[in-house]
């Protein structure tokens, strides 16, 4: 099963490689990984998406907790949570496909953030599965490149 694991990490140099290194050394998979500062300047939040059975996810959480620079680990998947991912997708645009593109952008609440004579760059944010759906719906031959941030998330409510 897919799990979103949120890790509060000391904002120290090398902390990220301790986490990434643990995943590769122990053969755990990483589907996506994002890391950025938080409102506490001494902490970074790292969000990792991994797939595995309960035993594997339990080991991942324990192994993360064992890393000295890790302050807190939360498996968001075991709570009601919000997950979001941002995608920038650059598309070939021509008169022939404009309607098709605009319809998909509208359906998925995308935003055109850059345009040239024959390209649009579209910004989409949402659950990863919605971004996947957009990529499926759009004519594959129109996609020039895609950049996705990976998933981030928080627990719902006041937890």
């Amino acid at each position: 099963m897919r799990h979103i694991i949120s890790v509060m990490l000391e904002n120290e140099s090398g902390a990220l490689s301790r986490v990434a290194g643990m995943f590769s050394a122990r053969g755990f998979n990483i589907e996506s990984l994002t890391v950025a500062p938080t409102n506490d300047e001494t902490l970074s939040r790292l969000t990792v998406v991994s797939v595995g059975d309960d035993n594997i996810i339990e080991q991942i959480v324990k192994q993360l907790n064992k890393i000295i620079d890790v302050v807190e680990v939360t498996d968001l998947t075991s709570f009601e949570h919000i997950e979001r991912e941002l995608m920038l997708i650059k598309l070939n645009v021509s008169k022939a496909n404009l309607t098709h593109i605009m319809k998909q952008i509208e359906t998925f609440s995308g935003k055109i953030v850059d345009a040239s004579d024959d390209t649009y760059t579209v910004e989409l944010a949402g659950q990863s599965k919605n971004l996947d759906a957009f990529m499926e719906k759009i004519d594959q031959s129109l996609i020039i490149e895609i950049s996705r941030t990976g998933v981030t998330g928080v627990i719902k409510g006041n937890k």
């Binding site: 490689s17 339990e58 080991q59 324990k62 064992k66 000295i68």
Partner: protein, 579 residues
């Protein structure tokens, strides 16, 4: 006003404040300032090894014998890379160690400077934690953090990489913190009392229990509690290679070692048990053998300080995270008012297995059996020596035939299996416990990986007795080739060996060649009479002897090979995959 000191002096003062007795190290460009500062003090003795791997193993041996952290000082580049094998050895066996490595000056880091390696990167996966000091004001606090992390929770090595400019820069004298609190590292969580009760219930009503104790009982100084726990229950106990001595081998409740080369009774009892009580052990593959066939009928109670050890290899019924001694105390208290099962029929079964006498071996006229050497060593030292070993057949024989009755007497590389460990570890152990006899049981293969430390041993007069089981083969490799590779002895025989007696003598030690069994005991007695000399006993042993019992790869605990049954070996490809 406080005195102004350079970084090297602050570092040295911190080590003195920490109470460090010995540093095992080797100088070089990046640590010259530190060596200069060490020259101005006499609280800490520096042991100048001949190879940085030797420094790490010696510090490791010191730590295992004393229970205190070992300290290593090496220079940048090859200094630290040479030490890596020793650091990884300590990591795998959870040994407290602090390694200080010099680094090129801060402004050169990342420039491929002379003798630069990314020490923090290279060691990341074989240390508990590591630091790169970037600011002179952080030296004392980083040292404190390192010792705190290395010695608490599940211990392990911690590396501090310190660029040369930081050792030269000046700063106000720094107060060495007496305590430190890290928000991201809380090794002492309260023990779950509900789990204690569950464990006690399960233990008390089991009919075929077995206690399986590991290195955690030694490292966690839980020998006293383990003995009390075992004796209150009257349950059988087996110990891992890393755990030997926490419970006395000579006690009637002891079934000896379990696992790949464990006794018949220990492995059969594991296989037949309905309740395995794992104490500071980690269900390593040498212990479990084929995991699919492991303890098919047992409920498992697992006590360990490291939560990641629990549920990693086998599913556990009652997990108990915490300091082994404290958890055992908790269970003992809870057992106080409980009725414990009567298990005489289980003991009857175990005693039948025991009667197989699985460590029996045949003596042959004119040939020295390696097992006889260990038995004689035990006899001559009255079972009171600290015994270190290298890795291979001799290691298993030492574990099987030297009956350890106390913890911290048996020192070997269990996890990493590092050949070359034994000699420098013996040197470190001798420094830690100078009044006790120290023997290094080794083989002609392993010893040649670290002979240069004979020179260090002369310089510091660490009198160790080296018991070289010389069978002219890399014996464990040869044994596997005999069993699993149709006796194709590829590269397991060395055609040119040194004259070890002359080698020892050239280093200023005593060398004794033993070729006949009749010479064995007198030679060992003579060696141990020479209290202040290192003696190298080169003992020519049976070339063909194998280690039994043995669980072949892919087999279960109940599928052991016993001595004399080695023609029956056959292993499928899946089994051969395992090492």
């Amino acid at each position: 006003m406080r005195m102004e000191l350079n970084g090297a002096q602050i570092l040295t003062n911190s080590l003195i404040e920490e109470g460090v007795e010995y540093i095992f190290g080797y100088p070089g460009g990046a640590v010259l300032h530190i060596y200069d500062a060490l020259n101005d003090q006499d609280s800490i003795s520096h042991i100048l090894v001949r190879h940085e791997q030797g420094a790490a193993h010696a510090a490791d041996g010191y730590a295992r014998a004393s229970g205190k952290p070992g300290v290593v000082l090496v220079t940048s580049g090859p200094g630290i890379t040479n030490a890596v094998t020793g650091i990884a050895t300590a990591y795998m066996d959870s040994i407290p160690m602090v390694i200080i490595s010099g680094q090129v000056p801060s402004m050169l880091i990342g420039n491929d400077a002379f003798q630069e390696v990314d020490a923090v990167g290279i060691t990341r996966s074989c240390v508990k934690h590591n630091f790169l000091i970037k600011d002179i004001s952080k030296i004392a606090v980083t040292l404190k953090k390192a010792f705190h992390i290395a010695t608490t929770g599940r211990p392990g090595p911690v590396l501090i990489d310190i660029p040369k400019d930081i050792t030269i820069a000046k700063s106000e004298e720094q107060v060495y913190p007496s305590k430190i609190d890290l928000r991201s590292y809380k090794p002492n969580n309260p023990i779950d009392q509900v789990q204690i009760k569950k464990a006690a219930d399960l233990i008390a009503r089991s009919k075929k229990p077995i206690i399986y104790s590991g290195g955690g009982s030694v490292i966690g100084n839980a020998s006293k509690e383990l003995r009390e726990f075992t004796r209150i229950l009257g349950y059988p106990i087996t110990q891992t290679l890393m755990g030997l001595g926490a419970y006395p081998a000579n006690d009637k409740l002891s079934l000896g070692m379990l696992g790949m080369h464990g006794t018949y009774e220990a492995n059969m009892a594991m296989h037949g048990s309905d309740c395995v009580i794992a104490v500071g052990a980690r269900f390593d593959d040498r212990v479990t053998a084929n995991i699919d066939k492991f303890c098919p009928t047992a409920k498992i109670v697992h006590i360990d300080i490291d939560p990641t050890s629990i549920g990693k290899n086998v599913a556990v019924d009652v997990p108990l995270v915490g300091d082994v001694a404290q958890v055992l105390k908790g269970i003992i208290a809870t057992l106080g008012d409980k009725k414990v099962s009567e298990i005489s029929s289980w003991w009857k079964q175990i005693n039948e297995w025991r009667s197989k006498n699985s460590l029996h071996y045949k003596r042959e006229k004119g040939i020295i059996k390696p097992q006889t050497v260990i038995e004689t060593l035990y006899e001559v030292t009255g079972g009171e020596a600290i015994v270190t070993s290298d890795v291979g057949q001799h290691q298993m024989w030492a574990a099987q035939y030297y009956l350890f009755d106390e913890p911290r007497r048996w020192i070997n590389s269990g996890g990493l299996g590092t050949m070359g460990f034994g000699l420098p570890a013996a040197m470190g152990a001798k420094l830690a416990v100078p009044d006790r006899d120290v023997a290094c049981v080794t083989g002609e293969g392993s010893i040649q990986m670290m002979t240069q430390e004979l020179s260090t041993m002369l310089q510091y007069n660490t009198a160790v007795k080296i018991v070289n089981l010389n069978n002219r083969y890399l014996g464990m490799v040869r044994q596997w080739q005999e069993f699993f590779y149709d006796k194709r002895y590829s590269m397991s025989y060395m055609h040119a060996l040194p004259d070890f007696v002359k080698l020892a003598e050239s280093y200023g030690h005593v060398g004794i060649l033993v070729e006949k069994e009749s010479e064995l005991k007198p030679a060992l007695e003579e060696a141990f009479k020479l209290k202040d000399r290192t003696v190298f006993l080169d003992i020519i042993t049976d070339q063909k002897e194998n280690v039994f019992p043995m669980i072949p790869s892919g087999a279960g605990h109940h599928e052991m090979l016993l001595a004399g049954e080695d023609d029956m070996v056959s292993t499928d490809d899946e089994g051969l995959n395992l090492v």
